[in-house]
Point group: C2
Chain length 908, copies 2
Amino acid sequence: MANKYVYTFGGGKAEGKAQMKNLLGGKGANLAEMSNLGIPVPAGFTISTEVCTYFYDHKRQYPPELTQQIDDAMAKVEKVMGRKFNDLEHPLLVSVRSGARVSMPGMMDTVLNLGINDEIVKVIEKDNPRAAWDCYRRFIQMYGDVVLDIRPRTKSEVDPFESVIEKIKKRRGVTFDVELELDDLKELVSEFKKLVKQRTKKPFPQNPRDQLWGAIGAVIESWHNERAKVYRRINKIPEEWGTAVNVQAMVFGNFGDDCATGVGFSRNPSNGDKNLYGEYLINAQGEDVVAGIRTPLDFADLQKNNPKIYKELETIVRKLEKHYKDMQDVEFTIEHGRLWMLQTRNGKRTGFATCRIAVDMVKEKLVTEKDALTRLIPDANALDQLLKPVFDPASIEHAKKEGRHLASGLAAGPGAACGRVVFHADDAAAMAAKGNHVILVRHETSPEDIGGMEVADGILTALGGQTSHAALVARQMGKVCVAGCSDLSVNYGTKTAIFKGRKVRQGEYISLNGFLGDVYEGEIKVMPSEVKQGLFGTAAQRKGASQSKTFQAYTQLMKWADKYRTMNVRANADQPDQAELAVAYGAEGIGLCRTEHMFFGGDRIKAVQEMILANDKEGREKALAKLLPMQRSDFFGILKAMGSRPVTIRLLDPPLHEFLPTNHKEIVELSKDIGQPAKTLKAKLQSLKEFNPMLGHRGCRLGVVFPEIYLMQARAIIEAALDVQKKHKIKVKPEIMIPLVGHWKELNFLRGEIEKLIDEIKDAKKLKIQIGTMIELPRAAVTADEIAAVADFFSFGTNDLTQTTFGLSRDDAGKFLPHYVQNGILPEDPFVSIDSNGVGQLVRMGTEKGRSVNDKLKVGICGEHGGDPASIHFCQTVGLNYVSCSPPRLSVARLAAAQAALIAEAAK
Amino acid sequence: MANKYVYTFGGGKAEGKAQMKNLLGGKGANLAEMSNLGIPVPAGFTISTEVCTYFYDHKRQYPPELTQQIDDAMAKVEKVMGRKFNDLEHPLLVSVRSGARVSMPGMMDTVLNLGINDEIVKVIEKDNPRAAWDCYRRFIQMYGDVVLDIRPRTKSEVDPFESVIEKIKKRRGVTFDVELELDDLKELVSEFKKLVKQRTKKPFPQNPRDQLWGAIGAVIESWHNERAKVYRRINKIPEEWGTAVNVQAMVFGNFGDDCATGVGFSRNPSNGDKNLYGEYLINAQGEDVVAGIRTPLDFADLQKNNPKIYKELETIVRKLEKHYKDMQDVEFTIEHGRLWMLQTRNGKRTGFATCRIAVDMVKEKLVTEKDALTRLIPDANALDQLLKPVFDPASIEHAKKEGRHLASGLAAGPGAACGRVVFHADDAAAMAAKGNHVILVRHETSPEDIGGMEVADGILTALGGQTSHAALVARQMGKVCVAGCSDLSVNYGTKTAIFKGRKVRQGEYISLNGFLGDVYEGEIKVMPSEVKQGLFGTAAQRKGASQSKTFQAYTQLMKWADKYRTMNVRANADQPDQAELAVAYGAEGIGLCRTEHMFFGGDRIKAVQEMILANDKEGREKALAKLLPMQRSDFFGILKAMGSRPVTIRLLDPPLHEFLPTNHKEIVELSKDIGQPAKTLKAKLQSLKEFNPMLGHRGCRLGVVFPEIYLMQARAIIEAALDVQKKHKIKVKPEIMIPLVGHWKELNFLRGEIEKLIDEIKDAKKLKIQIGTMIELPRAAVTADEIAAVADFFSFGTNDLTQTTFGLSRDDAGKFLPHYVQNGILPEDPFVSIDSNGVGQLVRMGTEKGRSVNDKLKVGICGEHGGDPASIHFCQTVGLNYVSCSPPRLSVARLAAAQAALIAEAAK
């Protein structure tokens, strides 16, 4: 028996089906599937990928059986459609499209209207003369381009077909193609044929069979063109896959007022409502919708104008939704009152709709909870949108109309914010104290701006990428942030910001759209999201939110996520209010409580500076004694807020010079405060300066050289824990984390010092405080077995681990990382999503080696990656105990953890 | 049969031997070995380590057999020595010493003269009253300290025994103990006994058996004291090893003029001559030599005064040398005309003597070539001394007498140098151009100082450690360097250096001792070493050197080293003269030719700056076109010098801002040169500034963003190679190395660009240029399998790999790394010797993964570690193809590679 190379579909049945993607390509398999469902799909056939493979294996020869099989298939199509290919009575036109397993740029895409020629156009003309000639001229142009390769020969040349069209349009004084009249179209056909003759030295093929074989050949050849090859290499798509070729009967939406073309969704893609949603154009083709000359009608009109067709469409769409178990995005054409479906696929939708639809479909028993969590919400980030403040729709419309858009930058912290412009942290504090909303505008931010960022509603910087200081801190704080706004120039002296010449002074209003990175002049009204109202609003807001379908969907999803996930989810939080936020968002503990942010507050920074500038241990201890009660009260608040949940507190990490002033005025002031001459102070500051602060005297290196600093912090933790326990009868679980350990002896030494302290303080031993370390240096990962012998837990600090593993400074990467991502050298910013092949290997190695010597070792991750869904999936495969992220990312993290667990379960 | 716990020695035989170290400890095994050789060793016995183990396993009880075995052993000792323990006729005194397998600080060390008491002292008194009482008082003091634990109770308290002595000396108006007279000594004994009574509440033990058991117990208990435990933990010495106890008959060198004590070497430890070499004191004890009150006599005197004893000593020493097959360092005592050997061990010696002795002993057929290379030169660094210039001995003596020592710093580049002080690179060049020797004095150095360092004889900096820029560059250039001289303060404005108040002006002479880190005022004459004269001197010098035993030994050792080593040895060299030097030192290729140093020369830096500051690719290419001929001529010189040896050329690595000026004046000048306003220029400079330049836009990241830079360099290499090949008929082997690759796509992209260039240039393909990469980022090591698929070779850049693996900036580590090493957190500076457990794991992983996909992959190392013996041993275990180091380190590297190969062979 001969091999089967051709698979027909149409007329309520098909030889293929959805599962035959490898053989039929994505498109072919889908068309077959729709036919099998009895959906009215224009009939056609798919030439399988085996033909492509055969072709290249046999010196570009087709299998001998192919011609007959195509002829047989065409006969079936003709029968279903009631038309004949190459026929002068009821001519059948077809489209020819490529169709690999995955969609692939660079492949030949589509030839429409194939089968028309000088004779046949005259037959079709009887139906609609203008449409017939428009078909013909479009066919020659498309075929000329993709099959005959008639394209611009130099970069500066315009498309040769387009230049013919332009000439005629110019002569006729019209702007759009649709304005051309019948005679113009006929002239176009004639000119196009001349162009083909001139470029190919042959007349345009008149025989539809020749046209067909030409198009089939072009699809198969395009599998091996340069762009396709490059794409395959980069995306690791095997050459052997090959492409299928789809030949399908044409149907026309532009042959009269009983014709139409449209697109639609089975549910509202913006809010998830279960209503058919879409638009259509009468007597038009798909590309007319794109051209945007005529305003499409909506489905309410269709229902009114043609209730029968609407009803039919609704039935089909519901059937498709039920079949594919997902919201569908369809394309259809009405040809002389008959509905044809051209395509269906899972529809794109907003985060709001994603969540709503997932929950609704479970309720409708269309999908299971597990399906809803994984398949219907492929990207957990969708949840993020539900939490962010938004602009009042009327207010933003108004601003746009008034032309108040100033500039765009990176959308570095989602949400909407509006406030008065300030340029310094202290101005921000002063202005906010008066009850103003403020937007902190900086060239770039540094740890000294923390206070200002805290009181600001939004942060705008001229420099910095997605992982700049501003972006990172803003995301942790849940602040709206636009970073790297290159059209912004900041003058701190005159306290003005200039956006492409437009000046904004301190105190004037601007508004930031952190979803999109836009900056607007003046005020735009901001509203909290329904989910936030539901979680943190006033009683009235909560009640209102409880009626909101979005909020209901959110809480339902979180319930399911918590049910299925196996990893714990913790938050990175440094202060009691952040800890409370974390709990509301479902945190099961704190994975990273940074103590350095606590060092920047008003009085504290002075004591910190005094400590740093002390000439000996005695001086340091004197200053540390001042800090102790402050730190203790910080920890008291956090531990109380977290109750009996574990709280991992990281001891001081950044280099000491970060706490010192840099400008003359501040130095002079400080010199008065601590009673040292400014000159001495400057020399000291100079001596603390570092070439590469990232790799300098920081982390546990501070603790090793100045154990008194860490011991003060440890004492504050212990005493605070004992206080909370006594006053609030809560069994608190503080954990002490030593940062930047590279060698087990560092941790061993510091652990010893802290254990001595625990022995000294009454009842401290009963707290059973765990002592562990960040794994954030490659050396720590490769020697994790040594380190685990003296650690109770590991927490992968993947921000720093990425920096050191790649040898890449987060602060400096902005100069070349975008170029890398744009040019495909790196698939994405490794600070956003973990580099599983490189950094990830070290995480895996560190975990395995650590557990090999300490089977009780608790292992988590507390870098920014802890809130990134792809990274969370990776963490599941490594078998981590928890992920920790900024509080507003917790919803995403909970969902992503559930998805990861379900995928792991399914893979078993 | 009872277990044997006690092993006797003496009288020409022993129950133990050298191989029984585990049982008898190092000392005990050695004493047994000497006895077996028939060497006159005072008789004694060793209580085995099993007793110690038993003791701790049995609740601090001794094995029941022990008492009898000790009594039996003591009887044997008494018989050999002709004296009796606890005897009033011929009393035997003994010493008691600990003796673990390895010498261990913190253990009880020694009690001498044990067995004396109030009765026995009176017997000994008959021989020599003063000596007898001196024995007794020393015994009480030692026993009181180490057995009875009578020590200062607070840090400020002085030793209680010493305070008694001081009191008497003060009363008697004398300075030294030896000035005390008989009555004083008797009074001391009496006072000491009172002290013991007062502190222990018991009288001083008079029974010699009690004394003996007390001392044995103290030795065994000291195995578990705090210091010993800490030392064992740090050095990973198992607790189960235990310590042995050695009990040995005392002999006395201070009982008359027919008594003496001395130390000697079997060969001259400073130059290796095969003459007995040593000194002795008549009527004295070992510690009298140390006290330095009397001037010892040398062996010529001994030969004259007592030819019989001298002959006997010579025979013994030669016998020991022959037995131990190494130069011996012995201690001996003459008691009433009878020679006793107390100790023998392999002697310490200078690098010069090390090499001479190793070669001589092979010639004498005492050892094999392999033995000479490995055992007799345990540290290949010994060779280094042979190459360094030295001060003329008379001249340095003179300078010291005149008090011209100014300050001390780190010995960062060995050798001696003298020249006029300069503070700037251009002043250095100008002054050197006039024929002056110059010493470049800087607060610290940076790449801009390279020109100045090149013309200087020595470099002196106030800041920086062993791996500072100054130290690294100086060592590569083979310059004398003293770094981190904290007593130096540099004033660039007034061009003066101040050393603790002493001012030295530009143009005045200073002299540097880079062996020791000393700085002297004024001129001290410098001479090249004999080896350097032999390798690079004038014809006359070479002839002179060929007669020199040092030079002969050097060339012989190099010949043997090359015979046995399996790894290739290459040099790091950037310029033709360095390449020539490398060849003379035996380099088999260049492992690292850095191209950035070439960018700093006069005209070049301007073109480089123009290139960096260009606003577009066109501007960059214009500037690059100026650089091309210069780079080509650089490479021409190097390739020609290296002939057919491989030359690995690394493309531009440092961040571009390193090539730009930083001060206002230079910026203004540059702005004129390139015709851009100074303001624009400053903004541009600001934009190029980096927070962490080490992790910034450097290495292949420059090549990826600005491929034109790398392509200019590649073209220069290719064209130079073709030129050399054509003009000199040499089959050159250039290799192009891409730095700082972290992801295989970086290398893949750049390799593709360079291969396109090779295709373009006529005949370039025939050069078969290999293209490879540095592995200097952890990510490169863990993904080496991906990278190796597109690399012809790997070269581990372990300087940067250490920085990123540890997260440790070499430039900033000075602030805490010394503290780490001093406190045992790190065993040593990981930039000096490779951290085999951490960084080394990545080197091994990178090599194995790389070879797993590319079995032709050539793998080497080109960090500073390439010249460090311990690191070279590590490289051998990993199986690297070559090591590469600075030219002056090549001798050391060749030897170390041979040692590593021989050790690996022996381990098979």
